[in-house]
Symmetry: C2
DNA sequence: AAAAGTTATTGACATAGATCAATTAATTTT
DNA sequence: AAAATTAATTGATCTATGTCAATAACTTTT
């Protein structure tokens, strides 16, 4: 029997693979002909909440965040690692504008695909459409988990979550250089940057992580997991 | 130019109409042949988080909530008014279990539709598939708003949001008998029931609402809206 | 390499709203 | 309709984090 997944603040969706695999050679060529590859520098805005969507964007190489804001506060919804799409909710003609903004964390390479082509392919290829439904569903499920986590977990648990997410899902090693500022981590874990600093220090003192400026090493993933579960 | 929508904690998705309208007569008949109408009493569980999905459910008459919980805490994701679907994320074979639970607020009538039929129709009718994508997108957008609201608005703003949502979207009059307990309202607006009581009392004293036990009347929607925006 | 600007760290303090406890009101069961 | 149960209200208290202010440590620009 499968263990019931607990909710985590983790910021990447569980969908694996690529919807593009479901396309025929002709269809792939069509996408090819209607897409361009663009380079973004670290910290550049990829799309703006409220703006018209004309392309769906595929992260080819890099890392970005998707967030909503009202001018005063900003809420990070999810991260975009390699292979993830941005702007999918707008394949519905009913939602022609981005419901969120996106910004790169590091220098990134993004493939822009004409959203009209996306819509056409959905209308002609049901396997592709099913795959889009899969992605939308997995995005929803990820958001539910993050929503629950940010609403009910205490700050230590949320921070532990994010450290584990970075190590397990994003960098896939327990030892990495953070391309994120303390403020970024604060945004990820839904707390103030001062609180992040204090709590990272505590984790460090307790031997759960080894932290030196931008360098982070997970020493005791089990304990972090326990804090995430309890917190 | 359209005014940019602000985020609200409102709990129903903006999708209007019915995906079933996109079906042919034959397809409608197919649904008809593979669905049953079920009556639920107030407070009954419609589906359980983690359980297998075998039917997609359509609220025919009544009101329900969709929520996730971990045994200790419960987070209300959205309300299900007439015409809304439950269990849509599971039309993907990749997600065969409910990611949430649902429970009726009042006596309700629900149409259960075999999920296999739903999947078949998605695979054969692209208009229908597009409509499902529309619904999933609008659900996501609603959740983003609620997520933002519960994370950043203060309690007064969240409560004002919910009162307006109940009056505008659910009961569609400024004068209604609440079928919800204080605890339900607390869950909707993400706070403790004691805080709900105190704040409703305050709104009442200030003449924004008229409240008498279960009966609620919105007296000053503009001020409530202002509190929602500011809070 | 000095100056200017930005980000990280630490400490002190404030507070929104949760929790706990007690009372009253409403509803359900006997 | 009395008793028992559940829900609503009120008051008192507590606390996890945010906010503000002051350095300290980096980074970038000159």
């Amino acid at each position: 029997m499968k263990k019931r997944n607990e909710f985590s603040g983790c910021t990447i969706s569980s969908y694996e693979g690529s919807c593009l695999d479901k396309l025929s050679e002709d269809e792939k060529q069509l996408i090819e002909n209607h897409s361009v590859k663009i380079k973004y520098k670290k910290g550049e805005v990829i799309c703006k909440q409220g703006g018209f969507v004309s392309q769906v964007m595929l992260m080819n190489k890099g890392l970005a965040k998707v967030y909503i804001d009202n001018g005063t506060n900003s809420l990070l919804l999810r991260m975009i690692p390699n292979g993830s799409l941005i702007g999918l909710s707008s394949v519905s003609e009913a939602y022609p504008t981005f419901p969120y903004s996106a910004m790169t964390y590091v220098d990134s390479e993004i493939i822009q695909i004409d959203v009209k082509i996306f819509r056409k392919l959905i209308a002609q290829n049901t396997e592709f459409a099913k795959e889009i439904i899969n992605i939308l569903s997995s995005n929803s499920i990820q958001i539910y988990g993050r929503f629950f986590c940010l609403t009910y977990k205490q700050a230590y648990g949320r921070l532990a979550d994010i450290i584990l997410c970075l190590s397990d899902k994003i960098f896939m090693k327990e030892n990495f250089n953070l391309p994120l500022s303390r403020k970024d981590i604060a945004e990820l874990s839904g707390m103030s940057s001062e609180t992040v600093v204090r709590m990272l220090k505590k984790f460090n003192e307790e031997g759960l992580i080894k932290m030196n400026g931008k360098h982070l090493e997970v020493l005791d993933a089990d304990s972090l997991q326990r804090i995430s579960d309890t917190g």
